[in-house]
Every structure is written in C-alpha cells, then in structure tokens.
C-alpha cells in the first residue's frame, strides 16, 4: 500500500499533541503508512481566508507542491476544509489557478490529481469490518457523543463528506469498536472556533450548548475530529466552571484515542493524560482502562 502524504497541522506538536500521537499509533497498528509532507507550512486556517483569498489558496497550494503523494491526509478538520476548498477552487477556476501559481512558483504541481482525505475517511477506506476484526478491547458500555463540528461537513458541495446535518461516519466507527454512539442533535453545531481568543464568551456559550446536549443524550464522553473543537470543548470547560458556575465534567477525546484504546494500544501511546477533563475515571469505571 502506498503511503499517504500526511499534513499534521500546526497544533499537532502543541495543543493537539495527543491527536498526533494517537494518530501515529493507530496508523502504525493498522499498517497505514503516513509520510509527513516535508517542510509543510501552515494552511492558513481561518485567519488567512478571512483576510486574503489568494493568501489562503497560496498557502495550501505550496503544501500541495511539497507533497510527495497526490493523496493527502489530515486529521484537522480546518486543514481538511482548506485543502479541499483550495483543490476545488483550482479545479474549477483556471484564471484563479494562474494567479496562485504566479505567487507560489510551484515546481511539481502540473498534471497532478489531488485527493484530500480526512483521517476518518482513511479509516473507512481501510474498512470498518477490518477494524472490527482487529479490536481487542471492545469499548462496551461507553456512550459516545460523536461531534463533527462545521468544517468537516460543510459546505457539502465542496466537502462531499457525509450528510451535513446528521453525519454518520464517526458514529459507525464508534459502533464498530464496540462503543455506543448516542443519538443527539448537536453533531454539527459550531463551537465558536477561533473566538476562543478574541471573544471567548461566544465560545463558552456555544460549547455549553453542545456539552449540555451531549449530556442530555446520555453521553459519557464526546468524540471529536478537530483540534480546534477539542480545545474549545475540553479546555474551556474550566472557564465555563469559573464564569458560569456550571460543571460538565465531560471528557472530550479524539476519535483516534478511542480507536487506539479498542485496538489494544498502550495508553501511554494515546495521550490520555494530556486531556484537560480527565477521561480516566469514566474509562476505568467501565473497565476499559
């Protein structure tokens, strides 16, 4: 199997370290080869496209140019969205493509047919039946609220990833590893994204709604596919506690951490200790740790 070109994203070695770590462990265990794009640069996330259209395309185009493979994988939903949007824009707008090329001066872009995948898609491509067979510790009794966020599924014309209002891909994976995905209505409600810095009250309000919905649906934990969402839902529970006196105590894990646990990977390789709201009580309580 040829290696996927891996785009870790800027938070992979920082605030989302556990995501990167669990991703690497899980892929190694499943035999999925990831080759990190050499010298990759930030995709620009929200700030780039929010202030300069060409900048946002150029940053991604540079990464495409650097990519050793035409198939690119990332775990960050924002990066995934930027890559897919860029590839889509360049496929449909020749004049724009020429402008971007002038800025980026690429050397290896012509004639390539890029395919951008989110890690969740890669696992699906690997095959859920396959995954199921390799599960050594089914996460029985664990109720998981699968939170997809915004950029993974919208806009559907560009992303083409699952139903934009009631997606199922993470739920299916969670079910395949023996856990119980709960039915809930806030799967794709926005967490507030970058407002964690300039307008934290917005994030607190939006994440409170999400966490409350997860709790009301009977979830033990929330599972995510994006470092921004994770940090908003996890770290900011401290602020919700401080400012609004509400305690959710809802662990927010990366789906790769859950997957890794079920595959029997050692907990130290999955970064559970890096989560702010500690998942260990619940996991231990269910005999999963």
């Amino acid at each position: 199997m040829t290696a996927y070109a891996y785009f870790p994203g800027c938070s992979a070695h920082g605030t989302a370290k556990e995501y990167d770590r669990s991703t690497q462990s899980v892929c190694a265990k499943l035999g999925i080869e990831l080759e990190e794009i050499p010298d990759w640069v930030c995709c620009g996330a929200s700030p780039a496209h929010a202030v300069n259209h060409l900048l946002s395309l150029a940053l991604v185009a540079k990464n495409l140019d650097l990519s050793p493979s035409d198939t690119i994988v990332t775990g960050c939903a924002a990066c995934y969205n930027r890559f897919k949007t860029t590839v889509h824009a360049l496929q449909h707008d020749r004049p724009l493509w020429e402008q971007v090329k002038q800025i980026v001066q690429p050397t290896k872009l012509n004639g390539r047919d890029f395919r951008v995948l989110h890690l969740l898609e890669v696992i699906h491509e690997f095959g859920l039946e396959e995954v199921k067979e390799r599960v050594v510790k089914p996460l029985k009794g664990l109720k998981v609220a699968c939170y997809y966020g915004c950029l993974l599924v919208r806009p559907p014309k560009v992303m083409g990833f699952d139903d934009p209002d009631n997606p199922k891909k993470m739920d299916e994976l969670v079910a395949a590893i023996g856990a119980e995905p709960v039915e809930w209505e806030f799967k794709t409600e926005c967490c507030g994204a970058f407002h964690a810095v300039p307008h934290p009250e917005i994030v607190l309000r939006l994440t409170s709604n999400i966490l409350r919905a997860a709790k009301d649906a009977g979830a033990d934990v929330v599972s995510v596919t994006c470092p921004m969402c994770q940090i908003n839902l996890d770290l900011r529970q401290l602020d919700i506690q401080k400012r609004h006196k509400v305690t959710f105590n809802m662990p927010v894990l990366y789906f790769t951490q859950l997957l890794g646990l079920a595959l029997g990977i050692n907990e130290s390789e999955l970064g559970f200790d890096k989560l702010i709201v500690d998942p260990q009580p619940i996991l231990k309580g269910k005999g999963l740790m």
Partner: protein, 196 residues
C-alpha cells in the same frame, strides 16, 4: 443652533439611505465581482441569519448585511462588527436557497474593510494579525508566542494566564518553533506587490 444639533443626533447615519448613488452602485458591483457571488440574487429569506451560530452577538445580522450590500451601504457594512464575528462555519452557504456563498461574501467584506482601514473589531483583527505574523515568522504556528503577542497587542495581558502553566504541565506547549518561515514569507512578499 441647538435645534440643528438635536436633529443631527436624531439621524441614524450620515448617509441618505434611500438614494442609490453611483458610489453605492459601484460598491455593490465590487463586492459581487470580488466575491464571485450573486449578492443581487438574495431575496432576504433570512435563512442565513436563522442558522448563524453567532448572529445573537452581531450588530448587523447576516441577511441584513447582504441587504445593505445590495443597497450599496459600504460604510455601515465595512464598519460593522458583524463581519468580524463571522467564524466561517459555512452554515449559511450550505442552506442558502439562492445558492449564494454567504461565507465567501463575508471574506470579501473583511478584505475590503482592511483595505479601507475601517475594521471595527479590534480583538478579532488583532488575533488575525498576530496569527499571520506568527506564521510569517516561523512557517507554522508557534502557539506560545501567538498568545503572548495577542495579549500584548490587545491589551488583555492576563487573558488565559491560568492556562499557560496547565498546558505546559501537560506537555501541550511546543517549546521550539519551526524554522520554515522563509517559505511563508516568500508568499507574503509575492502577494504584497499585488494591486487590488
């Protein structure tokens, strides 16, 4: 004299809202051209506002922003806080029955607001600037200096001060920045020479 001042204070804006001046028309056309979206097709159904997660905090809600663009009200639109509160969640774009990419229009309005130096949300603009300066420097985001720079520039010196030690203890703060800022700087420089 006093009466005149009172009357001035009673009017909401400096513009005569109904007259569609040449300048107003040009603004509408510019937004349509630069965003590539048919803002003129918007029939004000409000679905974007209804689904926008941050509409509750906006001074001018998304559907009204679109209406003001249609009426060429550049001042009100470009000076609004709303366009900076938009997080680009794409809910509006996904659900618009007239297939207008509203999020893209918001992107364009932000670009124009910065060009005209009228961006109204200090915090958001400071955050964006800090972020972009950060990747110019290092190539990839180096979170410690990003937060520091934002705090300094925005004046919110102690924001998230409690988080620093926590993240550090969890090993979630990178200690060394990356070093391929040159690649990003090249892109910024190439863009710098472009005229709108």
């Amino acid at each position: 004299m006093k009466q005149a001042t009172e009357r001035e204070q009673l009017t909401r804006t400096d513009e005569t809202p109904i007259l569609l001046t040449e300048e107003a028309r040009r603004f509408t056309e510019e937004v349509i051209r630069r965003s590539g979206e048919r803002v003129d097709w918007c029939y004000q159904c409000g679905k974007c506002t209804a689904g926008c997660p941050v509409a509750f905090a906006m001074d001018i809600e998304p559907s009204r922003i679109m209406r003001l663009v249609q009426l060429g009200q550049s001042e009100r639109v470009l000076k609004s806080k709303a366009i900076w509160l938009c997080v680009g969640c794409q809910t509006c774009t996904t659900r618009c029955p007239q297939e207008i990419d509203t999020a893209k229009v918001m992107d364009t309005l932000r670009e124009m607001a910065l060009e005209r130096e009228v961006a109204a949300d200090k915090e958001v603009v400071t955050f964006f600037r800090s972020f972009l300066d950060n990747i110019r420097r290092y190539g990839r985001v180096f979170e410690p200096t990003l937060v520091l720079q934002y705090n300094l520039r925005s004046g919110h010196l102690l924001q998230d001060a409690d988080k620093g030690p926590l993240m550090l203890s969890k090993g979630k703060l990178p200690l060394r920045p990356s070093r391929n800022g040159a690649i990003v700087r090249k892109i910024f420089d190439a863009l710098g020479g472009r005229k709108r």
